[in-house]
Subunit: 431 residues, 2 copies
């Protein structure tokens, strides 16, 4: 029965792409996942581990036999192996390294020696290079002879005798030129090399900005040490955008697969910050308790001004955070953008001042209450624009990820200013 | 002097990548931009237009001579031309189409006949195909002879006599096999074709999920009509993530280059929705004005419960919106995730209930006030979790982009429930 089940499983997975199998495995429970992979046995496809969420693949591999792990790792390029094992505990890491072939192990260890989130960790060691004196025919002959080519590659990197890249020839140019053409004649000299220590954000930015498909990675002596391909860059780019979305909402590095308890812990810090923020706002309100006691309508209306400020501030800071991430917002246009945001805040402030002023007068029949609401709205939306643009810029200058803390700062400002201006004006003009 | 300036400009731009020149032009004012491009004249690089923000390139091209536009368009693949002219007004569109060569014009017009945001608009017509009976040597010879190859390509698409793709051969396999190998022997049969009417989100998802570098596009009769490459998919993927971030913050399709007035108009609708929402919350508070009049401490503390609920709800909905976008959240795990979110809400609710309860007692010296705060916190964070996960799921089921409206719905719920439960409990337990 076991054998029958195994054949069924293999037949079921056969037509599926590794990424789809990984998705299926992510959706079932941890126990089911282990049972499925154990049943799969030595037919296991290593790509599936590479495609899975890292937490899950690390957990899963803890309980697999050395044989299955060895089998799985054999299918992978070194960059995928590095990606998998960099999050493992020491003993498990050793076990996986032990299952690799000698050359691959050395390559993986070399990659692991570079800091996390740098080009060194992203690159694969498998690449195709050629010396400067080769012709098209030499390169093609050599590739046909080699049995150790990367699974997929897009360029031949031309290197000088000291292994310094001097150009690269896309396979499509190699294809379209006669065998006796010198590689140096058709090589792209404007190619970009990536320093092995460059941050992964900068790598992803370069791939995206220059539409690159692959790029050679060089060490401090400018020697070729690996190559990064677009799929790796695409992953980083997605991670970065994802991180911004999550951080802006005060959600950390969580996935849908985290347990209830882990999720609770990950969400807690942001809520704690927000608690402090809102207590601060309450302290402001407390200063005006006698005003509120006199006119209870103020308690009813005060959340409107604060909430509008919070939303306007969030709009501005989201635009600012993304513009900083995509390098659209730079010191050269910062002043222009700050000025624009202040005007936008002022304009929307005036529009909403009129609307809310009318609402206030109709609702409570006190014209001066409408004036207070309107004035507070103008001030708070202006402040929201100013805080929304300047907080991320300042954090970025200080080297702090603006997505991380901006939202807390900005809503604190808009809450405090919103309550203070509204209640303060009310106290001055209505009592 | 004019000539000297022109030489200087050309020398300055010469070493720069088109994408970098585009960035420079985006940062200067519209008048400067036009002056620079006019000075550039017939040395203009069409790629620069393709790399610029579309609004800006369309505006810029309005004032250029036909010669310069014709010169610029000649450098571009058809997908880039389509990208540029799809946003133009009719007369300008005709002008640019008129500047193209016959064959390119037909290809561009064909692409424009497909709906916006579909594969048909993303694809380029330039591709390399081969009949099933060819061998490696035939393909290489043919490519060497051709003078009309795409600037960059990664695969040879194998087609049957009816032009239906039956497989594809990556250039790297073509390189590594002897000349007499049949293409059908080394072709990848598991390749994916993309229907010309497929939405660009689905195209981008497939490229990302399956790490594809290029994919053939087929029409309703399964005939090859074009090819989409990874850089186009990467752009869409980035756009989609960007759109989610922006929509979640209530910011529409705006850029840093929009005018103050345009930005104000784009931000207005979301603020208007928020105004209605917060007036709704005020109406709830108004029901309890006598309770607030009796105990002014309630006015001081009530924003805390509402604000914590809003933040917890935003955390959950952000995770949900992204999980829906990346297809991690599916009907098969929805119930599990909903359950988890409710438990997370309940757990954090209990933790913060204790904290805020203690704060309330210390601050105002009324133990029952602490109890009311704590209970309201538990209820509101539970409701926040439930609303945060179910609102996006329901919107997605209804075919509405969950990023668009979720945030307004969820914060309405947490504001209304937050004020209602806190003030209601206070009225029942404290008066």
């Amino acid at each position: 029965a076991e054998d029958g089940a195994r054949d069924d499983l293999i037949a079921l997975f056969e037509p599926l792409h590794a990424a789809d199998i990984a998705d299926v495995l992510e959706q079932v429970s941890a126990t089911e996942r282990e049972a499925i992979v154990a049943l799969w046995g030595d037919e296991v496809d290593g790509e599936v581990f590479a495609e899975m969420d890292e937490d899950i693949s690390v957990e899963l591999m803890e309980n697999l036999s050395d044989d299955i792990i060895g089998e799985a790792m054999r299918d992978l390029d070194t960059d995928d192996v590095v990606d998998l094992i960099e999050d493992m505990e020491e003993p498990q890491k050793e076990r996986v390294l032990g299952s690799l072939e000698e050359a691959d192990r050395a390559a993986v260890q070399q990659s692991l020696s570079y800091p996390e989130e740098t080009a060194g960790r992203l690159m694969q060691r498998e690449l195709v290079m050629a010396p400067t004196h080769w012709r098209v025919g030499d390169a093609i002959d050599e590739m046909r002879k080699s049995d150790d080519l990367p699974e997929r590659f897009y360029d031949v990197v031309i290197v000088d005798p000291r292994l310094k890249p001097v150009g690269k020839v896309p396979l499509s140019s190699l294809m379209s030129h006669p065998r006796d053409t010198a590689l140096t004649e058709i090589m792209d000299e404007e190619f970009r090399t990536i320093p092995v220590g460059q941050s992964q954000e900068d790598v992803a930015y370069a791939f995206n900005q220059y539409n690159m498909v692959s790029a050679p990675v060089v060490d401090e002596q400018d020697r070729l040490v690996g190559v990064i391909t677009m799929d790796d860059a695409m992953e980083v780019l997605e991670e970065e955008a994802e991180e911004d979305i999550m951080l802006l909402a005060g959600v950390g590095d969580e996935t849908l697969h985290d347990s209830t308890w882990n999720t609770t812990k990950l969400r807690f810090p942001w809520l704690a910050v927000n608690l402090v923020t809102s207590i601060l706002a309450s302290l402001v309100i407390a200063q005006f308790s006698s005003t509120i006691e006199a006119i209870v309508a103020l308690a009813i209306l005060m959340p409107i001004v604060a909430s509008m400020g919070g939303n306007a501030g969030t709009q501005t800071l989201t635009v600012a955070v993304r513009a900083l991430a995509t390098k659209d917002l730079t010191p050269s246009n910062a002043w222009r953008v700050i000025r624009r945001e202040m005007f936008v805040g002022l304009l929307n402030g005036c529009i909403f001042a009129v609307i809310i002023g009318i609402v206030g007068v109709i609702w409570f029949g006190t014209p001066m209450l409408g004036v207070v609401l309107g004035l507070a709205m103008i001030v708070n939306l202006l402040v929201a624009g100013l805080a929304g643009i300047s907080v991320p810029i300042v954090l970025d200058k200080l080297g702090v990820d603006p997505a991380l803390a901006s939202s807390a700062f900005v809503t604190t400002v808009t809450d405090v200013v919103g309550f203070f201006v509204f209640l303060g004006l009310a106290g001055a003009l209505l009592l």
